[in-house]
């Protein structure tokens, strides 16, 4: 148990993602063979199994597929955060990802809300991609 928010375990495969986040960029893999955009990072394309992948910066925009407002903190690190929004976001490039939606009253949350990426700083210099309502 820890009071600190969890941090990712960085591997060779995921390092470009987390280094991008540190620079304020949401990075996706793109298959050089079939052009599929991929999240979460992995050593192959999940559509065609090519291992020839590139890293590209995502536009950082998407829509909320679904969400929940959490009232019961799952563990100590979240005790001061409730109520918080946990959501699945579909990026404009196609992949889906989990994130918190920040900067919104939980009661105002809705499915299909347009969102844009922001970065939350955590311990150890980690920056974690998050989302907030897109204002344009």
């Amino acid at each position: 148990m820890s009071r600190e928010k969890p941090l990712p375990h960085v591997t060779e495969t995921t390092r470009p993602y987390w280094e991008g986040a540190r620079l304020g960029k949401l990075m996706l893999q793109r298959c050089r063979r079939c052009r599929t955009a991929i999240h979460y990072p992995r050593p192959w394309c999940s559509a065609c199994w090519s291992t020839d992948l590139d890293w590209v910066e995502a536009a950082g925009r998407g829509r909320v597929v679904t969400f929940t407002v959490v009232h019961q903190p799952p563990f100590e690190a979240y005790a001061g955060d409730v109520p918080y929004v946990l959501a699945v976001v579909k990026l404009d490039e196609g992949p889906q990802m989990m994130a918190n939606v920040l900067g919104i009253e939980p009661a105002a949350m809705r499915v299909d809300l347009p969102v844009r990426v922001v970065f939350e700083r955590r311990s150890g210099g980690f920056c974690v991609p998050q989302f907030e309502p897109a204002r344009d």
Partner: protein
Amino acid sequence: MRNEPAIAAARELRPGRYPDLGGLDLYEKVLAEFLGAWRLDPSVVDGFLAAPAGMASGTGSDIFVHEQLADALGLHPRFSETLNVGGATYAVMAARAALAIASGRAQAVLCAAAGKFPKVGAGGAEVMARMVSHPDFEFIYGSFIPALYALAATRHMHERGTTREQLAAVAVSTRQWALRHPDALMRAQGAITVEDVLRSRPIAEPFHLLDCSVPSEGGAVFLVARGDIARAITPQPAYVRGFGEYHDHGPVSQSRDVTSMGAREAGRQAFDSAELRPADVRVAEIYDAFTINPIMFLEDLGLVEAGRGGRFFAEGRGAPEGDLPVNTYGGLLSFGHTGDSSGMSMLIEGALQTMGLAGERQVADAEVVLVHTYGSMMADHCTVILGRKP
């Protein structure tokens, strides 16, 4: 199916807390209870399936469970393994056993489960949250089990018009059944109303406490045997008419359709292999970690029209006086969710209903009983259809 595989014996431990028993100790207790309840000839049993003993507790150390228990039982099976498909493990066991029997690779397969459930207060919630989430791309956002299921509920409400009150109605209906089961954990709490559910503590919207299953520990054992062997054990075995399985996403965030996670395909295979239709089903036993699940899966399995699952429960159609009884043992919501072995409970009840051994809660015409289970965060799906005729 060829060789008429059937569940010939079934027994579940009373759910509760067994703090002094580790995973393998609990297995011993479950097996002793099963053997005490059914007089079986060990020489007919040539298959043995078990699940890892420390799955939900996060210890995971007991991975050779089948070896240890088969040895203790004096068995030398020709079909045996420790297998894990989460909550779908036991329906998958029934399916694997039926296939082995149909192909002549086994004649009687014992399938066993014992489940621990970590106390959520003692760091258990964090361990489980990490286990059910992608550790690097979901867990870091404060994901945990009720919240991950709430994601499915929110989208279902948005797309199909399911309401908060309809979710609560699932808990109300299921509690009514628990009042008829002597071992149900929530039997002593009595009946509940929609208002009780809505007034209980909010956990992760739309779920409140009474939308969530009750953590406990327990286990169960069943025997799948060739038809002639089954009939020598019990006059009315529960024949495995058909089954299907489908493995959808891994982490919930990667689900392509969070309102429908793979039950549709598992159900289609099950009905096709059984040569039955949804209209033939008299009783449905559906894995219900949260109130949204029976609504989602009744719709996906074709037992209720899409978008009508919530109304089905609000109208009392799954309750004791309803036209399609659902979760007749009280469900994980009110019978108890026995950790690793929770996927056994609906299968045992499905078998008992088909065998006519469900006591006070027996449904009169349980000719065809559908059991639907899933593993992990609604990722692995297995549907089994049981019947009174081979």
